[in-house]
Symmetry: C2
Subunit: 578 residues, 2 copies
């Protein structure tokens, strides 16, 4: 037995496997996921596992490594979130989201930091050795809403799209602010004296970190789109580039101390449109599927690790500090949302209702990012207190808020997400209105979002598409694209239907099958009626002796060859049938 | 700048990225890949990169780490090879393959080892300090044909399927023999005296290592099939299990010193059938695509690293020893193939022709496995000589043999692979003959391959399918399955055709598109004819106001919902059109 040799990959594989099996386990009982959010269950599993490890070894179980979290677990989730983010509501509400993410987070950091400092002055609590800077540092890590936790809960409660994007967008974009404030306070803690220059440099950093992230992301996104122009002969590595460039954008941003989350989102949103047009349909399915799979696994692992890491002796249980942290987190967030929304509502026609405000404030869940940041703190005598407070805040928000938010949404009758996606008619009307508004804005000289959107679209079709798209010589009008999209969807539905075998037109075939396993027995058991049916089906569909099973070659995938000829065949068939 | 922090993932990502870009580069020029095999070009790129690193740093570039090779780079390639291996020709020739893999490899090991020991006795060569055991150890690592190198070359020359599977199957299955002999001789080298018990234990190990690998693989394969029964509600993690279980089978086998390659192949072949039936079509596309992508990247990285590692000061250039190694490798392989084929041909109707024998002998390429094994040798004073000899053998086989094998195949007019896959009619006849032969074997009391295949099939449908398949309550006859397969293929072709936009029935649409970019301008430029055409297409296909763009949810993929209802719609449409 040579365990040492395979230890690293073996343990990683086992962890992933266990996480996936836990996921399957929950979904086997349909009632459980509808009451308790998956994140709570996973943390619970983690707690049990941590308890077992603690009981067996009699020492604290291993803590989730911050490097592993930031380098390997977080990127897939953000990548998935950025790629599938509905871009229209995001850009429509970008102002509000930025206000919440930047001003709101700063408000929370200083609010929580100063009020906790106030608590520290109470002699009875024995906290006088915690300085203001340390409180602010703690505030900077505990204030940020966590995208992983928010996603896990908000996806299950199906609130309306605007509400979803406000909370989720904030949780993503506040990364830039958190990074800056956290690093600023941490370096202040280590400096003997703080000059006012340092404070101003900190303010300047906001813009560098945020905009730098966007720039890095867009650069990699455009490069990725450009690269996929040339992968026509080697389709198999199409999806690879999508993943590689995004991951590189994240790593590059992290390397330069910019916001990795912002970079990866900018990269995903920038590349999506061109990459989708350049890569093949199958590559695209793979990209989408793999992204979902990866983020799902990362997400599961994060919550399990969170549970495991909670167990142990890393905590200093000073209850007044911990309780006041939870209370201040709730109060300052609620106040911040109220004040900011007041200003937002003055400048918008579609105001944010008070119910929505409540859900936004209540949905400010904390998660693994705080947890990793608190472990990254330099060693000082109150670190264990901060760890304990962070753990309690995370568990409180994920368990109490996460589990009660769904009943509250029901109780308040918050506007839900429309179950059905918009129809073709609606989509056409929306596009028409966009063009109309762009025209009105242009005439009235108001440079609003429609004006900029129109300009961007013009720039895109005039310059970017020529460089980034492979088949630019055939730009297609939206109607033709829509037709093709519907045609593709139709085809895939056909395929799914065929696979599922629910086809109601030949139930006779399916019913008779129970006894028919090999070809030999087929003719004995099928009655003439069914045989005729089969013959008819075959005659209609096998219009030409089809070639099944493509020639074996490692660098190509089945079904890639001769699409043009096949297309012709199909169209001939189609014309005949009409 | 904080490079340390992101170094590991950043460098891995960059290497993969460079490898992929190199691949794209080759395929941009169509002529290059048709003359030189990709593997040669990649090694060449590696040599240049190694030279640059050597020139800049003035020290040997880093050598490919054996652990990285065996734990991370090799498994994806073997996984892909095992999954896409045509199982019929493999099992039809399993006896011949095993003979080549086991007896042939042992023959080569001892042949090369003893004759090199003979060379070492010549005083002029100054090699008298290389013992017989060391020569045999060297023989054990240099004798094995390398699956990665064989795949890379044989896939491009398209010889007939039997020839391909003979060489490729041998290269995969000889892993068990190589592992045993290599470890045996290595431990003998370190032992003071060798008892005859040790030799017998070594012989027994063959069976343990090989059959143990098969057992581990099949166990994991069956577990994987069983697990995918329960993933219905969380489709996104379907593909994960396929990869995880296979990788676990490899790691487990390696952990117990069994043959990891044999295990992963047994696992892939064992699970394939059930997993394909259990997981969704999209999951399956993802699995296939990702496997191809991964193996393609691994393969590229291996050859580039091979090139990089060649440069440096690890070599002792004793030319007589090196030259004789190359010569003996060629001679003993040729002799082995001749002798073994003589016996094989006596028991088979379909004999292996002398041309085929030549290609089998000539196709015995060595590759990265030898290279990694030679670096794993314990330090002794002639290790650098062995490294030099291995490097030369690999470069000789990959460059000289790899580049000349295609012209030789042309010159000898070796039977090629049939370009077209078998038609439905042929497939039905093949199946019919299988059943017939199984019956004949049963009557005549001869337990041949058809007899066992029939028994296995019976066991499979009677017991295994009930346990491992999700929808076992609806077993389908082969004709219905074939119909469904064709229907699916048809659908996917439709989709591809739609995407490629080569549809010849509405060229007018495509031609007019050059000027039509936004909706606004559409109606101005389209003539009434085209408009009518569009209306007709839309009327025929938009039979119901379709819903486009599925509701946003992170744990599901678009198009997963309501397949039954969609299927009904489609069938109604279909019936109307007929």
């Amino acid at each position: 037995l040579d365990y040492q040799h395979v230890q690293v990959p073996f343990e990683i594989t086992l962890w992933i496997m266990l996480a996936s099996l836990a996921k399957i386990g929950f979904h086997l009982y349909n009632k459980l996921p509808s009451v308790v959010p998956e994140s709570c269950l996973l943390i619970f599993v983690g707690l049990i596992m941590g308890g077992i490890i603690y009981g067996l070894n009699d020492k604290s179980p291993p803590v989730m490594d911050s490097d592993i979290f930031f380098l390997y677990l977080l990127p897939p989730i953000v990548l998935d979130a950025g790629y599938f983010m509905p871009s229209r509501p995001f850009f429509e509400n970008i102002g509000t989201i930025l206000l919440y993410a930047v001003v709101g987070t700063i408000w929370n950091v200083f609010g929580i930091g100063f009020s906790l400092y106030g608590i520290c002055q109470v002699k009875a609590f024995r906290l006088q050795d915690v300085s203001l800077l340390h409180n602010l540092l703690f505030g900077s890590l505990i204030a940020a809403v966590d995208p992983v936790a928010v996603l896990a809960v908000f996806e299950e409660i199906h609130v309306n799209e605007k509400l979803h994007i406000l909370v989720f967008g904030e949780s993503l974009l506040n990364d830039a602010v958190t990074v800056v404030l956290y690093k600023l306070f941490r370096s202040f803690c280590e400096m003997p004296t703080i000059k006012s220059v340092d404070v101003f440099a900190g303010v300047g950093k906001f813009f560098v970190v945020g905009l730098g992230g966007v720039l890095v992301g867009l650069t990699f996104g455009m490069t990725a789109a450009f690269t996929t122009r040339f992968t026509k002969d080697i389709r198999v590595i199409d999806p690879l580039f999508v993943f590689l460039y995004r991951y590189l954008s994240y790593l590059t941003a992290e390397m330069f101390h910019l916001s990795g989350i912002v970079a990866i989102i900018a990269c995903a949103m920038g590349m999506k449109r061109y990459v989708e047009a350049n890569i093949s349909l199958k590559s695209h399915t793979t990209v989408k599927y793999f992204m979902k799979m990866w983020s799902s696994v990362s997400d599961t692992l994060i919550f399990i690790f969170l549970g495991v890491s909670t167990i142990g002796e890393n905590h200093e249980w000073n209850w007044p500090y911990i309780c006041f942290t939870v209370i201040f987190c709730l109060i300052w967030r609620a106040l911040g949302v109220l004040v900011l929304t007041f200003f937002v509502n003055r400048f918008h026609v579609n105001t944010i209702t008070s119910k929505d405000q409540f859900i936004i404030a209540y949905g400010g869940l904390r998660g693994a990012i705080c947890f990793s940041l608190v472990f990254l703190l330099p060693d000082f005598h109150r670190k264990k207190l901060f760890i304990a407070a962070t753990t309690v805040v995370i568990l409180f928000t994920v368990f109490i808020q996460g589990m009660t938010i769904r009943p509250l949404v029901d109780l308040l009758a918050v506007k839900r997400k429309r179950e059905s996606a918009p129809t073709v008619g609606e989509q056409i009307h929306i596009r028409f209105l966009d063009h109309l508004l762009a025209g009105i804005e242009d005439i009235s000289g108001h440079w609003g979002q429609y004006y900029w959107k129109d300009k961007l679209e013009y720039f895109n079709s005039k310059y970017l598409q020529k460089i980034l798209l492979r088949e630019y010589d055939q730009p297609k009008s939206s109607i033709v694209l829509l037709y093709e999209k519907l045609e593709r969807k139709h085809a895939i539905e056909l395929a799914e239907a065929g696979q599922l075998g629910h086809a109601p037109s030949h139930p006779s075939l399916l019913n008779n099958d129970r006894t028919v396993i090999t070809d030999k027995k087929l003719e004995d058991t099928l009655n003439p009626d069914v045989l005729e049916n089969i013959q008819e089906i075959l005659a209609r569909n096998l219009y030409r002796i089809r070639r099944t099973g493509p020639a074996y070659n490692r660098h190509t995938l089945p079904g890639e060859t001769e699409p043009v000829e096949h297309a012709k065949e199909i169209l001939i068939l189609r014309h005949k049938s009409v």
